[in-house]
């Protein structure tokens, strides 16, 4: 299977709703980054986590290396949250590189 599986592939929310996105990893990853790709195609870093939980405004992310997953929680969704969210996990060894999930496309409706 894919090294990084991201779910759901697509998500539709009404303004004010809460929801979560999840990434499962096929192996132990060193760290994870979450990105938002906006309507202009720009990749914006939301979080970097080597372990534990981080919060930033209405967003919260958790990374559990041992259990091989990471989550991104969006609270009180706003129209500007629409876009595609990617998680990317860092693998180490001979090469240190990011492996991306396929993304979750989020649409927030009024």
């Amino acid at each position: 299977g894919m090294p990084v599986e991201q779910n759901p592939p697509a998500l539709s929310l009404y303004e004010g709703a809460d929801s979560g996105l999840r990434c499962n990893f096929s192996t132990t990853m060193k760290s994870v980054q979450w990105f938002q790709q906006n309507h202009r195609g720009r990749l914006i870093t939301l979080f970097y986590l080597a372990q534990g939980t981080k919060e930033n405004g209405r967003l919260k992310s958790t990374f559990n290396s041992k259990e091989r997953y990471s989550t991104l929680h969006i609270k009180d969704a706003q129209l500007e949250d629409s876009g595609t969210y990617f998680c990317a996990a860092l693998i180490t060894g001979n090469t240190r590189k990011l492996i991306f999930g396929l993304g979750t496309t989020l649409q927030v409706q009024p």
Binding site: G41, T45, Y48, L98
Partner: protein, 112 residues
């Protein structure tokens, strides 16, 4: 946050032609990366570099070369462009203990 710029932002090329995509970063990061983004595949690593003068093959290097002439600049070269290389290309830089990567705005390449 790291400043990563790419040029050109849009490019139309003909099959068999040579294309050079340029990337510049101003935060003195050691590592730089080239990815392409395609529907159904997400972002895939083409080439990367650990510093000036070094280039390494990523996951999909075939048909691409890379050049890192300086700490700041990293180029992706398509010697003989093909329509299958039509994509959006992203450059990223990173380094230090956090390994966080910062991405440029992307280049849309259309090969006719």
């Amino acid at each position: 946050e790291a400043a990563v710029t790419q040029s050109p932002r849009n490019k139309v090329a003909v099959t068999g032609g040579k294309v050079t995509l340029s990337c510049n970063q101003t935060n003195n990061h050691n590592n730089m990366y080239w990815y392409r983004q395609d529907t159904g595949h997400g972002l895939r690593l083409i080439h990367y570099s650990y510093g000036a003068g070094s280039t390494e093959k990523g996951d999909i290097p075939d048909g691409y070369k890379a050049s890192r002439p300086s700490q700041e600049n990293f180029s992706l070269i398509l010697e003989l462009a093909t329509p299958s290389q039509t994509s959006v290309y992203f450059c990223a830089s990173g380094g230090g203990g956090l390994d966080t990567q910062y991405f440029g705005p992307g280049t849309r390449l259309l090969v006719l």
